[in-house]
Every structure is written in C-alpha cells, then in structure tokens.
Symmetry: C2
Subunit: 387 residues, 2 copies
C-alpha cells in the first residue's frame, strides 16, 4: 500500500523517536518482508500493522515460522482494573482479537486484581467494579469465547500457584529491582509480582506472543531469562507505538484527565465537545498561516488518531493528509471527520459491551478454554538439579 501517496503520512510520528526505542530495548522493527509474511499467514491485512502503529517485535519471525510448521502459538495480554478505560486502552485488545480470529489461537487475559491492589491506592470494591467494567470492554473487542480465558489472579491463584513457586525461585530481588526499579519502599507483593505476571507465558508448550506497548518490553526480560530453564520457549512480543493524548503528542491519555482521552463510554455529544475543545491541532495559528504552510501532521491529534487507530480507507486518509498538510483542509474539518469516525467506532463498541454478559461468562468460566483451564493445575517441570 501507500505507494501512490503524494504525501507519505505513514512516516510521521510526533515527538517520539521510535527507532531509538527499538535500539534502546534491543527489539526489531517489523520489516516490510515480515509484515507481508504476517499478512499472508493471517490471510488479511491489518490497519495497525499496515500503518506501522504496530512496528516492533521480538521473535515474531520465529513465532510465524513455528505457526507455519504447525506448532502454533498463543496470545497473552492483561487487564489492570484500576479505572474506566479510554480509547487508548482498547486498541491493543482489538488487535489481539483480530490475531486470534485470523490465526485461530488461544488468548489468555490475566486480570491483575492483586497487582493493582499493591500498586495503587484502591479498595477491593473499586477493583471489583473496574474488573466488572473492564472485562466487558475487553469482551467487546471480539474475542472467541471458546478460545479465550479471562481470569482474575485472586480467583485463579489456586490453579497456578505451583508454577508461580517455581518461577519465584528462579528470580531474585536484584533482578526485579533492575528490571522494574523496585526499592526498599516497594511492598513485597509488588516485588513478587513478576512471578505472577510470567506464569501465563507457560500456560501452553507453544510459544507465547505478547502484544504490548514498546515501553513494556523490558518487563519480559525475566521471562526470557528463565523460560528455557523450564523447557519452555522464550516469549515473543509485538509492539505498538504510543497513542498520543487528545491534548497533543507530549501528553499521556489518562482516564483521570478527561481532556486528554476519549472514554469508551463517552456519548457522541461528549466526543464532539472533547475533540472540538481539546484535540491538539497541527494547523496554522491563523487562517493565513494555515493556508500558506498547512498543518503539521506529526503533532496533530486528529490526523494521528485517524491514521493509527480509526480510518481503514487508505485513499481517503491520503487525501486528508494531502489536503490538510497543504492548508486546503482546516482543523475544524478534520476534527469533524475524527468525531464521526470515533462515534462510529464507539457506537459499535458500546453495543457489543452492552450485550457482553454471556461471552464474559464463557471467557471466564464456561467456554471451552475456560473450562479446561479451571480443571488444570499449572506447574513447571520439576528439576533435579538447580541450574
């Protein structure tokens, strides 16, 4: 795609240097070749990968190779129930569900109702409320209810503690301090957390593939250090860029700052108001300047969101890019387009969330995979010699 573009909007990336992040973390860019292989095997293209919003990986090549050889793989992601979710939270679940449908693989979703208690000033009641809500949001992303297992750590601990004991023995305080920055003032729950975070990567013999923000990559170093000691494969990962806040590329979308984020339960009116009031514009300060210089797409939230998250239609996006960057299209116009696309997305999402009761029940307790997992004890290979 994108070869007939006059403007190549797919290279502009705001203020983050994503090449540097790849270097820093020692991951790899998803090459054009790997991208095509991914789409070939998926039997479909994907917006996020196509537009390089998902742009980095670790071991995706090996994962696809094993998939081709019939070994398969599985997906693992998590839900941290600490608040209502915004649009920046949900994208990765849509991508994960897309991969599940295309590759026909199992997905494990760990609800970290223990970690959030250790990490935040939050009560049990709040956690329960956010679990209830967040699980329904995630369910709306289109997972297969018979191949997806969503589990609350506090509920599922009895089934996975044997394996967690084994992981915890292989990881020491210095390691988690190095990787997570834990200190003397860190509570011992948080300090133990890496053992719990890692156990789902061992739920199957197959390779685990984790879709996550590029900034999360270092946290999986521990898994890569210990996996082979248990005869398991190192986990693979596929990394997203950051989604800019509504208020601009330097901010972070946050549920507690409504200006910065579109919440998943925002009404069409709220969306319109937020975008019009707060969406950061890369357009000129005056009409004259805008007509002359055009908009800076790299910092324009409306354009970035359309490109990275929402607008499937390549041609229309290219047109918008050209018109807006040339100054022909005004900020008000691109904001209208964003509002329309957001509301269309949210309408579908909210409807699916509304009707998620049954699939939530299946993914947590009664679906094929959930039933299998509740019957299972997760342990790791016993070793006779310490390594």
């Amino acid at each position: 795609m994108a070869e007939d573009f006059e403007v190549t909007p797919f290279d502009v990336e705001g203020t983050v240097n994503y090449d540097k992040l790849v270097d820093k973390f020692g991951t790899e860019r998803i090459s054009d070749e790997l991208k095509e292989e991914f789409f070939d095997l998926a039997g479909d293209r994907n917006l996020y990968v196509d537009r390089d919003f998902i742009y980095s990986h670790r071991g995706l090549d090996k994962t696809l190779e094993e998939y081709q050889e019939g070994d398969g793989f599985f997906l693992y992601t998590g839900i941290g129930p600490s608040g209502p979710m915004h649009i920046g939270h949900i994208i990765s679940y849509y991508f994960t569900a897309w991969m599940q449908r295309k590759f026909d693989v199992n997905v494990y979703i760990q609800v970290t109702d223990d970690e959030k208690y250790w990490d935040r000033d939050i009560t049990d009641d709040e956690i329960d409320e956010y679990v209830e809500d967040n699980v329904r949001e995630v369910a709306a992303a289109g997972f297969d209810p018979d191949k997806t297992f969503i589990f609350r750590n506090r509920e599922y601990m009895g089934n996975m503690y044997d394996g967690i004991v084994k992981i915890a023995e292989k990881v020491n305080n210095s390691q988690v301090s190095g990787v997570f920055g834990f200190e003397g003032s860190t509570n011992i729950g948080m300090n133990f957390w890496p053992a719990i975070q890692n156990i789902p990567t061992f739920f199957e013999e197959k390779r685990c593939l984790i879709p996550a923000g590029i900034d999360q990559d270092p946290y999986w170093r521990i898994q890569r250090d210990i996996a082979e000691k248990f005869g398991h494969k190192k986990t693979a990962a596929i990394h997203t860029k950051f989604i800019p806040a509504l208020t601009g590329p330097d901010g972070k979308m946050s549920s507690s700052k409504p200006k910065t984020a579109i919440m998943l339960d925002d009404t069409p009116e709220q969306v319109e108001e937020k975008v019009k009031k707060h969406a950061y514009s890369g357009g000129g300060d005056t009409l004259e300047e805008h007509r002359e210089e055009g908009a800076d797409l790299s910092v324009d939230t409306s354009f970035q969101w359309l490109r990275n998250l929402l607008m499937e239609d390549d041609e229309r996006l290219a047109e918008i890019a050209e018109q807006y960057s040339s100054g022909e299209m005004m900020t008000g116009e691109i904001k209208e387009i964003l509002v329309e696309e957001l509301n269309e997305f949210l309408q579908g999402h909210q409807e699916r969330k509304e009707n998620a009761d049954e699939i939530v029940q299946q993914m947590m307790y009664e679906g094929d995979l959930a039933e299998k997992m509740w019957d299972k004890k997760i342990d790791l290979q016993r070793r006779n010699v310490k390594t």
Copy 2:
C-alpha cells in the same frame, strides 16, 4: 515444685544465656505467677513449662486473660518439610497438642512446601516425601483431629490468597530485609514468604498463640506491626529454649549429622549406640576426678535431655541430679537411664505414627475444622483509606 531439691538442676542452662535472649528480643520471662495461672487454667501442670524449658513469652498473660473472659485463643505452628525429623523437632508439637487438649482450642499447622522450595536445594519429590513423613510424625503428637487443620501452602493457597494480598501490601522490602536479612540475592519467593507465614495468624478473630523457639521471636515482628491495621490482635508467643545436640551444648541437633540427633524413627539399638557413643558427658575425665568433683549437669546431654524433655518424675530427676553431680552416679548409668526414657518415648511415638493414616486424613481434609477451612476464603478487612 523443686523446693525440696538439694541441688536445683532447673537453673542450669548450658552455655546459652537465656536471660540475655529475653532482653535482646524484648520478650518476657514466664514468671512463677504466670506459670501457676497457666497451670490453673490448663487444669494440669506441664513438664516443659515446669522445668523452664519453655520460659519466655509475649502476650501469654493477655491470652490467658482473654481465655478466662471467654474470648478464647487459637494455636498456630508450622512444618518445614525438608528432611526427616529428630527428637528436637517434635517436642514443640507435643507441647502444642497438650495445650490444645487442656484449653480445647483449634490448632493450625502450615506446611511450608513453598518456602522450603525457595530456601533449600530440594526437589518437589523430596518435598512430597517429607510432607508425607513429617505430617505423620506431627499427627503422632496427639492433636484433636476435629480441631486441627494441617494444610500444605501449595494446596491451600487458593483459599488464603485474598488475605495474603492484603498483608503483602502492608509490608515492604526494607522491613523483610531488616527482620529476615533478605538481600539482593534472595529469591522473590522467599522475599514474599512473610506474607504467607503471617496469614494463619488471621484465620480466626481470636488471639493467635505461637509456640516457637525463642530465636524465632523476631520473625513475628511484622505480624505485630500490621495486625491492628486489619482489626486483628497481635499474635502472642510462648518460647522454648534450645535443645542441646547429643554431642553437647554447643552443637545443633541436625538430621544430616546422625551423631548429633536421635531421629524419630531410630530403633532401640540405634538409640543405645548413639547415646553411648556420642552423648556429651559432663562427668569427670577420670573415675577419680568424677568421684571427687561430680558431673557438670549444665553441659551433660543426658541430664539436660532428661530434665527438659523426658523425665516426668520430679523426685527421680532430683535424685539423679544429686547423685550425678556429687559423683556418686557414673556417666554410663545416666546414659542407661536416658536410653530407657528415649526408647519408651519413641516406642509410643512410632506406634502412633504407624497408625496415623486416618487422623492425618481428618486433619488435612475431612475433620470438622479441616472441612470448615476448605469451605472458607480467608480475606482481611477491606480498608477504605491507606494507613
């Protein structure tokens, strides 16, 4: 007792200064008054307490007061399945079972099949073998199978994880480093261990009473720091002195050094051989010296074991003390008496262990308390504000 003694063997304590330990740990000596109150309420006297082998406490006075007021208390101890057990291991269980019978209270016994994996170079199979063995040894100590719950952490974790999450949030790395000496090289399982160790102290609303070696006292500082934050009582403790090794008061009884210990499964012949060969004598080096100076009871293993662990009969013990310390009785004679007492004790113990199948099953799964505990989720009071 002991007022008509010519020699007061009950004051001699080998090479450990137990008063200093009480000062160091900030515990209290069990006063004569408290001792009498304890016996009054128990409706019986107890060898270990009578002879000051159990000599220190923390909050035993409050515990007995609450017991008198009808609030009751419960007992908590543990089994660390890392090897076969010797006589030094079992005494505390006999005392705990005695208290259970006299005060009619529940006993919780935590089998630390997680902590031992983290702390020792030991395999799952070895742990399983020692759990099987150690639980039967402990069952032989005479617990009430309907009021005793023996649980393996790895098995029972699902029922207690909610509460453990709450404890872990209240304890930080610096605290466990201060109390347990954990370091960077400590694995994150061991570092988390204090949260698991503490949860049974919250199994009931009543005060928990822990019988333990005086050296274990500091490990419960964390419980005393956090208990009231959950609306629970600080745990009380009742402390034993150290049991000298067979080879003398400076050594430690150890299963891996057979010379130093009488194992619970030793045959009468093995006991006789070990005592005759290895029991440290406080007697004179020559017959002449012995007849002249007598034995030093404070370092003589035979005498110390008889006094602290085995010989119920005060008068006979006083006679032995007098005769042996005056040089009238020879080392060979007191060793004969020890062999006889040990073998009598071991014969009864081994028979009870042999027939422990059913009561083990009750204490772990099917007795009244066990059934209640398997139906229960342990959680701690939810708080609305961090304290």
